[in-house]
């Protein structure tokens, strides 16, 4: 009943909203949350293509599982960096972290 393009457009909408969040938010944790939104949109894309293809060979699901693992590890390391940054600078705003800027 639902054509494939509706799922893909929905995933594209989530991806664009996540992209706006990455570009427009100041707080680093908010940027990480927007990256999570983008990764979720990618997962929806993969699973939609898996479901609507005729061969049904599960590559989409395997890819989605790998994306879960990668995003979980990336969030863990990113948040560890944020905590360590907070201990040094007491601030987690992306603009203010510019010690290396020339």
């Amino acid at each position: 009943m639902i054509p494939l393009s509706w799922y893909l457009i929905f995933a594209a909408a989530l991806f664009s909203i996540g992209l706006y969040g990455v570009l427009a938010r100041k707080n680093i944790i908010a940027i990480l949350m927007s990256i999570e939104l983008m990764l979720t949109a990618i997962n929806i894309n993969f699973i939609a293509f898996w479901r609507y293809s005729l061969e049904m060979q599960l590559a989409g699901q395997v890819f989605a599982v790998i994306v879960f693992a990668v995003s979980a590890s990336e969030v863990a390391v990113g948040l560890a960096l944020v905590i360590s940054l907070y201990r040094r600078v007491k601030l987690v705003v992306a603009d203010e972290v510019n010690l290396l800027k020339w």
Partner: protein, 168 residues
């Protein structure tokens, strides 16, 4: 308007509203809660696509682990005068235009592509996706190498995040 389509539209509306609330919330904790709603909506989308295993893993990994981690970090790195400054950058109009252009382009592309105007093929008989997925993940002809690399990556991330956040 069958039940499946109704649930799909409801899910789309809820997830999109939640995603917009994530990127525009002033308070970070509210943004984290809206993120959980958006991820739960995505899990509903997975259930509609009949990938129940992926839906449950989404809830378990994202909402159960990652969202808790994010909320903890927000609590630990709170800025005392957070309420004064808005959470949005100076260049937010450019970001809005850029994401809008991307979305319109992608949507138009998907809408007019003839391959995407298909309906879902019927699942043949008993699809035991979970055991098939398990076999694909560990069989040498299929995806055992990415699987093992992902586990090494997780181990490296585990050790790395402990080392980075260690208090000396």
């Amino acid at each position: 308007m069958s039940l499946g389509m109704l649930i799909f539209l409801l899910m789309v509306v809820v997830t999109t509203v939640a995603a917009v609330a994530v990127v525009t919330s002033k308070k970070l904790v509210n943004a984290a809660m809206w993120l959980m709603v958006a991820l739960f909506g995505a899990a509903v989308a997975f259930v509609l696509l009949q990938a129940t295993y992926i839906a449950v893993i989404q809830i378990l990994v994202y909402i159960g682990a990652i969202a808790v981690l994010i909320v903890y970090t927000i609590m630990l790195t709170r800025d005392p005068d957070e309420a004064q400054e808005p959470g949005i950058n100076k260049q937010w109009p450019i970001a809005a235009v850029l994401s809008l252009v991307l979305f319109v382009g992608l949507a138009y592309f998907y809408y007019t592509l003839p391959q995407t105007d298909v309906l879902a093929p019927a699942l043949e008989g008993e699809l035991n996706a979970v055991s098939l997925l398990g076999q694909q993940l560990v069989s040498p002809n299929a995806y055992v190498l990415p699987f093992e690399l992902a586990s090494v990556l997780l181990l490296a991330a585990l050790i790395g995040s402990i080392v980075v956040a260690w208090r000396k």
